[in-house]
Symmetry: C2
């Protein structure tokens, strides 16, 4: 049961259920934790509690069963509650154009270190994960520059095989199954849920823009328990089929949203990504995940911070600057 993409109806009462966290353990157990936060109208947090539930027999290689398990989880069938004002602000189509924030997904919101064991097994070295990721970006860009396109999963497998051949290793079907499965099991960074909650609580509308197909991102965000924060999910795979940081990928999204790039924020942990978004005219924020740093090329990000909470705070502050209307829930002043 994925949240609807248009954000017009929301399966959770965000005033109370801030996020769901879903974990897969080695073997056959899965657990999700429902973290609830109460808020007053002004957005002030007044309490938090967590309930954890476990499911048996949800194993890694069976991704369909995993997603089915998620859909069947009773917590996802919890009765709807009356929408709060913050809910309304996030979901209304009348939200201010200035209230939309576009997020990159992998490594920005989700920690991809869950993929590590696959690379340790193939290459005997955990650092191969980052090498692989950089090669995936390099070859995605190369395809776009050479006027070609292949879906990101195809690029990922081709690059993995290239790396293996170059180092005398082999990649078997089980490795690929596990890579695909684990790609759907990324957890959020510790600071992700609260930052998203704070931003939606402040009335911002959140969307994603990924190099990966939107269906895969939908499953990832659902699994990580943060799908409800996003009004819609977008991918370069939808139409433009030119990989970020191709400037067209950002301008196409702005056109789709019907919002001028200058009125959109773009948040990513990848310097190449904010470089492209800034070139397209977005305001940009770079969050420095471990191993990432700004690059002194092109237009610099408007915000650089070491954690997503600080990024969220500074975006809200920027919205309150003279000449920038702060985003308010309808009915408030």
């Amino acid at each position: 049961m994925a949240a609807p993409r248009d954000g017009s109806a929301h399966p959770f009462d965000l005033s109370e259920v801030s996020f769901l966290k879903f974990r897969i353990f080695d073997g056959a157990r899965a657990a999700y934790t429902r973290v609830s936060r109460g808020r007053r109208d002004g957005g002030q947090q007044i309490g938090e509690d967590a309930q954890t539930s476990e499911h048996a027999h949800v194993t890694c290689p069976d991704r369909r069963r995993l997603v089915a398990g998620l859909a069947a989880a009773p917590i996802l069938r919890a009765p709807m509650r009356t929408a709060s004002k913050t809910d309304h602000a996030m979901n209304t189509s009348a939200a201010s154009a200035e209230s939309v924030i576009v997020f990159d997904v992998n490594e920005t919101l989700l920690d991809f270190s869950v993929l590590g064991p696959v690379f340790v097994r193939i290459f005997g070295d955990a650092s191969a994960l980052h090498t692989w990721f950089n090669h995936v970006i390099l070859y995605s860009e190369a395809l776009t520059l050479s006027g070609d396109y292949a879906e990101s999963g195809t690029v990922g497998v081709a690059v993995l095989r290239m790396m293996a051949q170059a180092s005398g290793r082999t990649v078997d079907a089980a490795d690929l199954d596990e890579l695909r499965c684990r790609s759907g099991q990324m957890q959020t960074y510790a600071d992700t849920p609260k930052a998203l909650s704070d931003l939606t609580g402040a009335g911002y509308r959140l969307v994603t823009l990924s190099n990966n197909p939107a269906s895969a991102v939908d499953a990832q965000l659902t699994h990580a328990g943060i799908r409800p924060f996003f009004a819609s999910l977008h991918s370069i795979d939808d139409r433009v089929r030119r990989y970020k940081p191709a400037v067209e990928s950002y301008t196409d999204l702005a056109a789709t949203l019907g919002i001028a790039p200058a009125d959109l924020w773009f948040v990513s942990c990848h310097a190449f990504d904010t470089l492209g978004a800034a070139a397209a005219g977005y305001r940009t924020a770079l969050v420095l995940r471990p191993g990432n740093a700004p690059v002194g090329l092109g237009r610099a990000p408007d915000i650089v911070a070491g954690d997503l909470g600080t990024v969220a705070d500074r975006i809200v502050q920027a919205g309150a600057l003279p000449g920038r209307s702060p985003v308010r829930a309808p009915g408030t002043r």
Copy 2:
């Protein structure tokens, strides 16, 4: 004294002087070796000898002095000899369109491992050199995709600083000086001179296409002793200012040479590079330097081989296939 770029006059008699090899030792000594090969008209090698000469006081950080030392080397002032038939074939503007081979430079012809000590000093890890190189490609591509441009040296320094910041290291002016200096001191791979010699001996005209400015490539190839093999040096920095593998970089070169892409060979050790050239319509050859492998994306290379000698042999063989006229020196049948 750099060789003229248009290839119309050649400072060496290629029938006898096949290549010069220039080495810098730690400290203040430099040596060059003149390797001479005699050939009969048919291109058969009949002998080889080498003379080595040493220069004192050519130190690494003083690149200008290094180049000046090269220019002053007596061997480079050796008297011209009568051009052989193979010389004539390489230099004549009437050479067959099918006789032109475009080479990538760094890692394809020149071994960049001479840069290693800079990365060991900054990062304590020799593998940082390859990470840096891949990031340079990734960010060069990112600039092109975002519609921006900075010269390759600027990208290289920005990426080095980014990597250092991300890992809590520092880059000082001496590191940058040494990186620049060592960039000009790359040696050829062991198989490079003979492969180039065989191709020019077979009547092919050789040119380069690099992401680095042609002046830098000129100094590199001169230092490595293989500048005389090339009729002209080309760079994306000359005009198009879109980094390889942007398809425009290859089509621009074809237009400059006045030769259809389908009549050009492109040789590189980088899968992303042959991917772009193939997309532009070139015939392509991938030479697998250590750590490189083909990638199963886009148009596959026509030739994949583990060394440049095999690439050269197979290009010559392809030229002899039915429907492809072998390249001959004028006056031969």
